[in-house]
């Protein structure tokens, strides 16, 4: 099998997997980074969202070959930064219930705040509509993004 060098959370990893393997499974099972979740496998629910060169991407629908050489940030990479404003806002607004979709929500919010330092509700809805939450935490996600924007513009 081919080898790929993946830069995940600011470190290079050499992985030996089939070229069409979705990044999601490489992160979870090859690198043991299980914070990135499987929800649908079709890019419909956004639970698998990670940042690739700063943009939110669906890792379930991205072949590992296409991620090679790019900078990938997962929820574990965000957690390494102490007091990340988005994580802090999520904590203060008590957003999570089951928590399964929240890594995808947080990474999507980080990507949004990088584009727009102070998004409106409409801009939040547009940017976040790709990430499903079955517990119904959406109102708190809106509040947490506003709070993160206040805390410092949010981007990582």
């Amino acid at each position: 099998m081919p080898q790929y060098t993946l830069n995940v959370n600011r470190k290079d990893h050499v992985v030996d997997v089939a070229a069409d393997t979705p990044l999601l499974w490489v992160l979870r099972e090859t690198l043991g980074l299980t914070g990135t979740k499987y929800g649908c496998g079709q890019g419909l629910c956004g639970s698998c969202t990670v940042l690739m060169d700063g943009e939110a991407v669906r890792s379930c629908s991205l072949a590992v070959a296409d991620a090679a050489g790019k900078s990938i940030i997962t929820i574990e990479g965000i957690a390494e930064e102490k007091d990340h404003p988005v994580v802090k806002a999520w904590l203060e607004e008590e957003v999570s219930q089951c928590g399964y979709c929240q890594p995808g929500q947080i990474l999507s919010a980080i990507a949004l705040l990088k584009q727009k330092a102070n998004p409106t509700d409409a801009e939040i809805d547009e940017a976040m509509s790709g990430v499903l939450c079955r517990c119904g935490t959406y109102p708190r996600i809106r509040k947490a993004i506003h709070r993160a924007a206040q805390l410092k513009g949010g981007g990582q």
């Binding site: 997997v17 079709q42 929820i75 957690a79 904590l91 219930q97 947080i106 079955r134 517990c135 935490t137």
Partner: protein, 710 residues
């Protein structure tokens, strides 16, 4: 005893702080008992322990699926224990048939059933720690008080931490009677507390079932029959076996398992399998036929669930009669984390890691399936990405146990989203025939509700006929309004489509019917829907308070322009009382917007107010999602919906612009919270749609109704 068991046992004892310096207390059996090894601790079938360093360990026997069990259970114990909240440590309890009581996490039971035993367990430990301090100081215990993890001798100001008192307290008798704290002295219950599980869920460290791994763990997906209940006839696994990482293809009860060293390899292998299926009996199962079957059943003579007055006579003499038919579809739980389970079956021992709402049923299933004694079956409940009732079933755990037994190796069975939608157990659909009447004084005099629906218990446990009314009348037979001639009856209409409990169970369908038809009756009587409800509720009914609270906050009496409407609905279930007000806009071309949703809840003593707000907000959104557009349909014996494109829960841009939650304050015994917020949502929404545009939605989901008006 295997090596792993020995390790587990050792870790367990370390956690317990066993030896000479630990105090543990049972929840349900408040009598002192020595550990079997003779050390001075209570047996490890226990609920709380205090280590010599003052750490308080609490075993949580109810599953955490997002509803906050791992926070509310500690809050109840810690309050009475006067514990230092910073020193609380949580341990998910390993399944046991009896020592924790029921571990089943359904029916909104964690707080309402746990309240008394958990409060008493905390209070008994507190009293023992006070006695221990009094004994050490040789003072009258009346001069001692417990506070924030220590006992204080008030006259002298001396203090001892719980850790320092644990060894002495462990030798004291457990008091038979304990006094619970006065609610006015609460420091934890009813106060704002951050959920204990939040931090790990924001860093990727939280371990859900899907995330659990063991060294060398095999991963399996199962090729499932396209027709429900079908069987494998023959197959060709040559192409599947050629996928790198696929180890084996093996027939199991539910289909063909593809076993691999990674999830991706297993999925690829399943894609390449060529399977010929024996379709079995359900090849003609079809939603239109099921609906027709319900309609036919609704015409058969019904069995009475509740009968008052004389409905037939009253219908004859009534001034105005109305009739309506209501129906709801089958729906899916669709938790974000699909089903999965890890099982390690050995000849004398089974260990399971499952995202389950019912670890005890997983334990008994595994014991039965493997022949391994119950006490050698260890079920660890992982965190779960939503449950909503789906994980009360043990089917997916059964697959892992069956496969691990066959492979003689640990294995993780994972389901894809497609597996989850197509091979789930659903909220049953139902068909309802309603008749009502008002008299010359515009008072309602008849309520007649006929239900044709499958029974969950009837389908899951066909050999156990219900005592009393079957489940399918829940929420219908308990209509809270005083109407002199009333008949609620039913015809059980079971089908081959698998069903199970889903958040609020039959209350979601029956409250939709009750509260929508009551609205119709109010309009028939020319009365305001809120005033009409209040006039029919008994004077001391707790629904009155929440109706008034929701209506007041909504500005119920303010008029709205045509095209905008406000609807109200209420329902009592699982020990709590909820009322919702919906505000919507319907354009002339039939486009619906959700403007505002208010929810008032009386759940008795509010244990964790922020958690209650979460559950109410979430309940509103979950229920709106279901009401707006969710439906499971069947064609040629298989579920039509495949993934979140054809079964799409509401997204962030579709929820109401404002959702407000109001909690009634009182110190009555706590009621449920996870489910009671769900049932009034659909009728409040549909009553608001009627108020906005005059279209009465009697068939869910709303998306299948034409809302155009002129």
């Amino acid at each position: 005893m295997s090596d792993r068991l020995r390790i587990n046992r050792r870790e367990f004892l370390q956690v317990l702080g066993a030896g000479s310096a630990g105090l543990t207390l049972g929840v349900f059996r408040l009598a002192p008992a020595l550990a079997q090894d003779g050390s001075q601790v209570f047996k490890p079938n226990e609920f709380l322990s205090i280590d010599s360093d003052g750490t308080v360990t609490l075993w949580v026997a109810r599953s955490e699926m997002g509803q906050g069990a791992r926070t509310t259970v500690p809050m109840m114990v810690a309050e009475q224990l006067e514990a230092d909240w910073e020193k609380i440590r949580i341990m998910p309890a390993v399944a046991h048939p009896s020592k924790y009581g029921s571990m089943s996490t359904g029916g909104s039971t964690t707080v309402r059933r746990g309240w008394e035993p958990l409060c008493k367990a905390g209070a008994a430990a507190r009293e023992m720690l006070i006695s221990a301090a009094a004994q050490i100081w040789a003072v009258d215990r009346a001069g001692c008080k417990a506070e924030n993890g220590m006992v204080i001798h008030v006259p002298s100001g001396r203090k001892l931490g719980y850790g320092e008192l644990a060894a002495t307290a462990a030798n004291l008798p457990v008091p038979a009677e304990v006094k619970l704290k006065d609610p006015k002295d609460y420091k934890i219950v009813g106060k704002q507390k951050m959920r204990l599980d939040t931090p790990e869920k924001l860093t990727g460290k939280a371990v859900f079932g899907f995330d659990f791994m063991l060294p060398g763990l095999a991963i399996a997906v199962i090729a499932r029959p396209p027709v429900l209940g079908g069987k494998v006839k023959r197959w060709d696994d040559q192409a599947a076996g050629a996928i790198q990482g696929v180890k084996q293809v093996i027939e199991v009860s539910h289909g063909l398992a593809v076993v691999a060293d990674s999830t991706w390899a297993a999925l690829q292998g399943r894609e390449k399998l060529v399977v010929e299926w024996d379709e079995g009996e359900n090849a003609k199962l079809d939603s239109a036929a099921i609906r027709q079957y319900f309609i036919e059943k609704s015409k058969e003579p019904g069995k009475s669930a509740r009968s008052e007055g004389d409905v037939a006579a009253a219908l004859q003499t009534a001034v105005k009669r109305i009739e309506a038919q209501y129906e709801v579809p089958f729906i899916s739980h669709s938790p974000m984390e699909p089903m999965n389970c890890v099982a390690d079956v050995r000849s004398d021992r089974v260990e399971i890691w499952a995202p389950t709402q019912n670890p005890q049923s997983v334990q008994s299933m595994a014991s039965e399936l493997t022949g391994v004694a119950m006490e050698q079956v260890f079920v660890n409940t992982t965190l779960m990405g939503g449950g909503f009732g789906r994980r009360l079933m043990a089917d997916y755990a059964e697959e892992a146990v069956e496969l691990s037994k066959l492979l003689q190796a640990p294995v993780k069975v994972v389901w894809t989203r497609e597996d989850d939608l197509q091979h789930g157990y659903f909220r049953p659909g139902s068909f309802h025939v309603l008749e009502g009447a008002v008299d010359a004084q515009n008072q309602p005099v008849v309520w007649k509700h006929r239900i044709a629906a499958p029974s969950i218990s009837g389908q899951l446990y066909p050999q156990q006929p219900p005592r009393g009314n079957p489940d399918l009348v829940d929420g219908a037979a308990q209509l809270p309004y005083r109407i002199s001639n009333l008949l609620v009856d039913y015809v059980m209409a079971n089908t081959a489509l698998p069903i199970t409990w889903l958040r609020s169970v039959y209350n979601s369908a029956n409250a939709f019917v009750n509260e929508s038809f009551l609205d119709e009756l109010a309009h028939a009587a020319g009365q305001d829907p809120l005033a009409f409800r209040l006039s029919l509720l008994p004077p001391d009914h707790r629904l009155r308070g929440v109706l008034q609270l929701a209506a007041e906050k909504a500005g119920w009496s303010e008029k709205l322009p045509r095209g905008k409407g406000r609807g109200i609905a209420c329902h009592a279930c699982f020990g709590s009382y909820a009322a919702h007000v919906a505000e919507v806009t319907v354009t002339r071309d039939g486009r619906l917007t959700l403007d505002r949703f208010l929810c008032a809840i009386d759940c008795g003593q509010a244990v964790h107010p922020e958690g209650i707000r979460q559950q109410m907000e979430g309940g509103v959104i979950f229920s709106l999602s279901v009401a707006m557009r969710e439906a499971i349909t069947v064609q040629n014996g298989g579920v039509v919906q495949q993934n979140f494109d054809t079964y799409e829960p509401l997204r962030i841009h579709e929820i109401p612009a404002r959702i407000e939650v109001y909690i009634a304050e009182n110190n009555l015994p706590p009621g449920g919270v996870g489910e009671p917020g769900v049932p009034p949502v659909a009728p409040a929404l549909c009553n608001a749609i009627f108020a906005a545009c005059g279209v009465r939605v009697r068939r869910l989901p709303v998306s299948e109704n034409d809302l155009r008006w002129s």
